[in-house]
C-alpha cells in the first residue's frame, strides 16, 4: 500500500499534468478557430481552380503537345509521395494516421513494382518514416506551419516538386494529408496532383454541348501558367486543411487527457482519504487498547 505522502505527491503531479493539458487544449481551441476559418476561406479558390482546370484539361487532353503536368510523362514508374504532417506531437492519431496511409500507399505501389520517393513536410512524419523508409526520403521540410499555413512556404514546396518533375525525377505525385471535417473528425486523404487528374466525363456532361472556350492569350499560355499555380495551390490548401486538422486533433486529444486526469485525481483522492481514515482508526484502536491494558 502506498504511503500517504506518496499518494499526495502523485495527486499533485496529476493535477499539474491536468493544468498543462487543459492549457494546451485552450491554446489549440483558439488556434483551431483561426485555422478553421483559413481552411474554409481557402476552399472556394481551390475548388474553382480545379473546376477551371478541369474544363480546360478535358478539352486539351489527348491532343499532342499537351503540357506534361497535365498529360503526365506517359509512364508511372516513379511515384513521389508528399507526406504532410505536423511538427509537433500530442495531437492524438493525427500524425500516425497520415503516416499509416502513406505506408500503405508505399506497400501498394511497391507491390506493383513501382519506385517510391518521399517528400516529408513536417517533422513528425519524417521521424516516423525514417525508421523503415529512410532511403526513400528525398527531401524533408519542417517548421513550415509554425505560424499557420503560408502561401510562400507552400510555393517553396511546390517549386521543389515542379523542379524535380521537370528534371524527370518522378512521374506521379500524390499528396497525403488530413482533410479537416470537424474538431473531432479528420479524414486522411490522398490526392494526386501531378499529372493533374482529368475529371471523368460524366454522361450528363457528355450530353450537353461542350463549351468551347476562347483563350487569351492562348491555350498553351494559360495552361503553362495555370498548371504550376495549381500545384502550389493544392499544396497550400492541403497545408491549410492539415493545419486546421492538427489543431482540432490536438484539442480533442487534450480534452480527453484533461478528462482522464480528472478521473485519475478523483480515484487517487478516494484512495488517499481511505488510507488516511484507516490510519486514524488504527491509531485510535492503539490508544484505546493501550488504555484498556493498564
Amino acid at each position: 500500500m502506498a504511503s500517504l505522502k506518496d499518494l499526495r505527491v502523485r495527486i499533485n503531479s496529476v493535477k499539474n499534468t491536468r493544468k498543462i493539458t487543459s492549457a494546451m487544449k485552450m491554446v489549440a481551441a483558439s488556434k483551431l478557430r483561426r485555422a478553421q476559418e483559413a481552411a474554409e476561406a481557402g476552399r472556394p479558390y481551390a475548388v474553382r481552380m480545379e473546376r477551371m482546370l478541369g474544363n480546360l484539361a478535358s478539352s486539351v487532353v489527348g491532343t499532342a503537345g499537351a503540357p506534361k503536368l497535365l498529360a503526365g510523362t506517359g509512364k508511372s514508374d516513379v511515384h513521389l509521395i508528399v507526406v504532410m504532417t505536423a511538427d509537433r506531437g500530442l495531437c492524438g492519431g493525427f500524425n500516425t494516421n497520415v503516416v499509416r496511409s502513406a505506408r500503405q500507399l508505399i506497400r501498394e505501389l511497391e507491390a506493383e513494382g513501382k519506385t517510391v520517393k518521399l517528400l516529408c513536410v513536417g517533422r513528425k512524419g519524417r521521424d516516423q518514416l525514417k525508421r523503415d523508409h529512410a532511403d526513400k526520403i528525398v527531401q524533408s521540410y519542417e517548421g513550415l506551419a509554425r505560424k499557420g499555413a503560408d502561401f510562400g512556404n507552400a510555393d517553396m514546396v511546390a517549386q521543389k516538386i515542379l523542379a524535380d518533375f521537370d528534371a524527370g525525377a518522378f512521374d506521379v505525385c500524390t499528396l497525403v494529408y488530413n482533410k479537416f471535417q470537424s474538431a473531432i473528425a479528420q479524414i486522411t486523404t490522398r490526392q494526386q496532383i501531378v499529372p493533374f487528374p482529368v475529371p471523368a466525363v460524366t454522361a450528363e456532361a457528355n450530353a450537353a454541348p461542350k463549351a468551347l472556350y476562347e483563350y487569351e492569350p492562348s491555350e498553351e499560355g494559360i495552361l503553362t501558367d495555370l498548371l504550376p499555380k495549381n500545384v502550389a495551390m493544392q499544396v497550400y490548401s492541403s497545408m491549410l486543411e492539415n493545419d486546421a486538422s492538427e489543431q482540432g486533433a490536438r484539442m480533442s486529444a487534450m480534452d480527453n487527457a484533461t478528462r482522464n486526469a480528472g478521473d485519475m485525481i478523483k480515484k487517487l483522492t478516494l484512495v488517499y482519504n481511505r488510507t488516511r481514515q484507516a490510519m486514524i482508526t488504527k491509531e485510535l484502536i492503539e490508544i484505546i487498547s493501550g488504555a484498556e491494558a493498564l
Binding site: 472556394p44 474553382r48 481552380m49 502561401f151 468551347l212 487569351e216 495551390m233
Partner: protein, 133 residues
C-alpha cells in the same frame, strides 16, 4: 434571357465577392474586357489592375487584383485573383510602402529568380498606385 451573370471573385485567402451583377470589366493580359450575360465562354489571364463591377448601369464596386485568371461562361464570371483589395480600402501610404518594399527587394535580389519575383512585385505595386491615383 437572364439579365445578370454570377460574378465570383476568389483569392487564396477567401471568397471575396459572389453575387449577381449586370456587367464586369476585367483587366485581361491582352486588354480589358467586359463580360455581360451570354458572353461566349472564354478563359483569360489577368494582369494587375482594377475590376469594375457594374450593377444597373452603374459602377457598384471597384476591386484591385494583382493578377490571376478569369473564366467567363454564359451565366457566370469567375476571377481567381492572387490578391484582391477593395479599392476603397487602399491608402496612399500603404501603397507607397509596398512600392518601397518591392524596390528594396529588387536592390537586394541577387539571383535571377529573386529578381523576377521582385520585379513582378514592383509591377503589382505600381499598378496599385495607378489604380488609386
Amino acid at each position: 434571357m437572364a439579365d445578370t451573370l454570377d460574378f465570383e471573385l476568389v483569392s487564396p485567402a477567401k471568397l471575396l465577392v459572389s453575387e449577381p451583377v449586370s456587367m464586369v470589366v476585367v483587366p485581361g493580359t491582352e486588354g480589358n474586357f467586359g463580360a455581360l450575360p451570354q458572353h461566349a465562354p472564354m478563359l483569360s489571364t489577368v494582369r494587375p489592375g482594377v475590376i469594375d463591377v457594374y450593377k444597373n448601369g452603374q459602377v457598384a464596386k471597384r476591386i484591385f487584383v494583382a493578377g490571376g485568371f478569369a473564366e467567363v461562361t454564359e451565366t457566370r464570371c469567375t476571377v481567381l485573383a492572387e490578391e484582391a483589395h477593395d479599392l476603397s480600402t487602399l491608402t496612399r501610404e500603404s501603397v507607397d510602402a509596398r512600392i518601397q518594399a518591392a524596390k528594396d527587394a529588387l536592390q537586394e535580389a541577387d539571383s535571377a529568380s529573386e529578381k523576377a519575383a521582385a520585379t513582378s512585385k514592383l509591377k503589382v505595386a505600381e499598378a496599385m498606385l495607378a489604380a488609386i491615383a
